[in-house]
């Protein structure tokens, strides 16, 4: 799409996404190990066939590879946003590209949130809520996130006044 918004997410977002996905996958892998172990110890049980298990393992490996090594990079490249006194403009998506426009006047509240992984990279999400929808700008630098949040709320206040 032409004239994409200009600002990018923090480059650390890639690392943070990798870590959070790795943790999720770790749990899946652990679960899979249990099943494999069970299968190998009692091969005659009818619980999952060996082929299903192999297929699941292969799929998991592929997903892990894509999810950890490629997707975060592409996701970061595709994410951009922009805030001005009229609107919040977001663009994201790996296959399906979504371009979102939120008029500043409609913003009900903005907040920043931070989980443990984001915190360790000094990152934070900015969440923008309207009466109908919620939008998220993920993994911004902490200071930038604060700045964006304050900016939106300030613009929203100004916009409210001239309505």
């Amino acid at each position: 799409m032409r004239s994409s918004p200009k600002r990018k997410l923090s480059h650390d977002a890639i690392k943070a996404w990798r870590v959070s996905l790795s943790i999720l996958i770790l749990f899946l892998v652990l679960g899979l190990f249990f099943v494999w172990g069970y299968k190998l110890l009692s091969p005659e049980s009818e619980f999952f066939s060996i082929w299903t298990l192999t297929a699941i393992s292969v799929i998991l490996v592929v997903i892990t590879g894509l999810g950890i090594f490629f997707i975060p990079e592409i996701r970061w490249q595709r994410w951009s946003y922009e805030v001005d006194e009229h609107e919040v403009d977001l663009q994201s998506g790996i296959f399906i590209i979504t371009r979102t426009l939120v008029p500043i006047k409609r913003v009900q509240h903005v907040d920043t949130r931070q989980g443990p992984i984001l915190r360790s990279y000094d990152l934070a999400d900015v969440t923008i809520s309207t009466a109908a929808t919620t939008h998220r700008i993920p993994a911004l630098n902490e200071e930038v996130a604060d700045q964006v949040r304050n900016q939106i709320s300030e613009f929203a206040r100004l916009a409210e006044e001239d309505v």
Binding site: M1, K6, D84, H86, I96, I97, T100, L101, A131, T133
Partner: protein
């Protein structure tokens, strides 16, 4: 004038029914699950027990409910386990609804519901008092409110416009109801339950005695026909019950909608809460030239706001005059209109193909004579073509009009200043064809509602987006150009360091 008093004892019954109605689905599920495999007697005891318990609960809550009007305040004391006192000043009371459900009608009584505005509002409902008392109560609370608040004047009676649904239209609405589909699935599920209740031998016996010499094919045809007929009857009845005596009253700054056969429902929708208007042309109604109007409203007072039927059936030529008189804000002169370009047609057709082919394959492989399900492809593709024809986007002075069809054609009208957000989506296939999906979100109830037009030209989509984003018509916003530059530079530096 109104000393501390209790409601009419019928309130006990009304309360019990209220609880049953509020938890109807839960109770049904409990009964179905609870009776699974056990004797019918047990279920019966269970139902009677529940009902007795609710009745006793109703009696106690009736006993514990007392109300009075003192010093222009409606005072209610209630609560079975926790005693609550509710004082409502008449200044704050926004809506006083008088309605009569089945129980109330049985005793010639009414229920009075008092609503206040504001986020921390409380709702008070007196579920059974005589009509005379209710009117007196209303007058008492209203009078105070009017005296203290001139702005909230009572509407002059001659100013009101009232629209009612006549019997002929009600019957047409009922017989072409869009709930048909819902009813169909319910009846379908019910049929599959019947199979469990009645053993196969009984079934065969029944079939052989009633319709001897029936072939397999005619059996299937007949059962399909039976399901459709029953579903149609259900939807017919439920529409009549819901929309019986439908009346819209236009007041100075609100709409008052009342409807219902057994239970009269009254809805008050202030004009400034209306978020969007939809014209729905259902599949069965469109060929007859009828459509219905639906409003989306944001929350106010206690009510959450939602989709509300503004009028269940209008002949197409009447629609615009109706809009003009009832919700004149939404009378729009279309200044620009664009449809889906021809290159989008194949996406519409393919979409229907992808949806219908798996269904056909499943049907083909699972039931006898399933081969004929390939004939479904024809209506599916026709539907796809019709969806393509109908989809479009248009704009007037400050209104954007989105037209799209799933089964029924919907025309959604959204005021520019009511839009909550707008989204353009493009998948790789659409990118190649330079098409995109255009979505507008409006507030409605808790979740909000989205209207999407698929596969419109990307340039058009961006144009509309720009038009929606600007407060004014002008395209350039040079005033904040510097601002934007500064902002992005600032952030680029900050992030580029990483």
């Amino acid at each position: 004038m109104f000393e501390l008093q209790r409601q009419h004892p019928a309130a006990a019954l009304a309360n019990a029914f209220d609880i049953i109605r509020a938890n109807f689905v839960t109770i049904l599920i409990l009964i179905f699950v609870g009776s699974g495999g056990r004797e019918a007697n047990f279920t019966l005891y269970w139902i009677i027990g529940t009902f007795l318990f609710l009745l006793i609960w109703g009696v106690i809550s009736w006993y514990r409910f007392e109300f009075s009007v003192e010093e222009g305040e409606l005072r209610i004391e209630q609560g079975v386990l926790v005693r609550k006192k509710l004082y409502l000043t008449s200044d704050r009371i926004q809506v006083i609804d008088i309605s009569a459900g089945v129980v109330q009608r049985l005793f010639g009584l009414v229920a009075v519901e008092v609503k206040t505005a504001g986020s921390s509002s409380k709702e008070a409902k007196i579920s059974a008092i005589s009509r005379g008392k209710a009117e007196k109560l209303k007058a008492l609370l209203r009078k105070k409110a009017e005296r203290s608040d001139d702005a909230q004047k009572a509407d002059p009676i001659d100013h009101r416009k009232v629209y009612a649904l006549d019997t002929k239209d009600l019957l047409i609405a009922a017989s072409t109801s869009g709930r048909f589909g819902v009813a169909l699935s319910v009846v379908g599920v019910a049929f599959s339950q019947v199979e469990q209740l009645i053993s196969e031998e009984q079934m065969i016996y029944f079939v052989e005695s009633i319709i001897p010499r029936s072939t397999n094919a005619s059996m299937i045809a007949m059962s399909i026909f039976a399901v459709i007929a029953i579903a149609w009857l259900f939807s017919f009845a439920s529409t009549i019950i819901k929309y019986y005596d439908f009346v819209v009253e236009v007041r100075e700054n609100e709409l008052l909608i009342s409807r219902g056969l057994f239970e009269r429902t009254q809805l008050t929708i202030p004009f400034n809460r209306i978020q969007a208007v939809q014209i729905k042309e259902e599949l069965l109604r469109q060929p007859l030239g009828y459509a219905s109007l639906v409003l989306e409203s944001a929350g106010y007072g206690e009510s959450e706001g939602n989709s509300t039927t503004l009028f269940p059936l209008l002949a197409r030529p009447q629609i615009y005059s109706f809009i003009n008189e009832v919700i004149p804000d939404y009378q729009t002169e279309i200044s620009e209109k664009s449809n889906v370009p021809l290159r989008g047609l194949r996406r519409y057709l393919f979409r229907m193909l992808w949806i219908s082919v798996p269904v056909i394959l499943i049907v083909w492989s699972s039931i006898p004579y399933g081969v004929y399900s390939w004939f479904l492809l024809v209506p599916a593709l026709l539907l796809g073509y019709q969806q393509y024809r109908d989809a479009g986007i248009a704009r007037g002075k400050d209104t954007v009009v989105l037209t799209f069809r799933l089964l029924s054609k919907t025309t959604a009208m959204v005021k520019k200043y009511r839009m909550q957000s707008c989204q353009i989506q493009q998948n790789p296939f659409q990118k190649r064809l330079e098409l995109s999906n255009f979505t507008v979100h409006v507030a409605s109830g808790n979740q909000g509602r989205a209207f999407t037009v698929r596969d419109i030209d990307i340039a058009k989509a961006m144009d509309y987006r720009r038009w929606l984003s600007n407060g004014r018509e002008s395209e350039s916003n040079t005033a904040n150009e510097g601002d934007r530059e500064l902002l992005s530079e600032d952030s680029d530096n900050r992030d580029a360091i990483q």
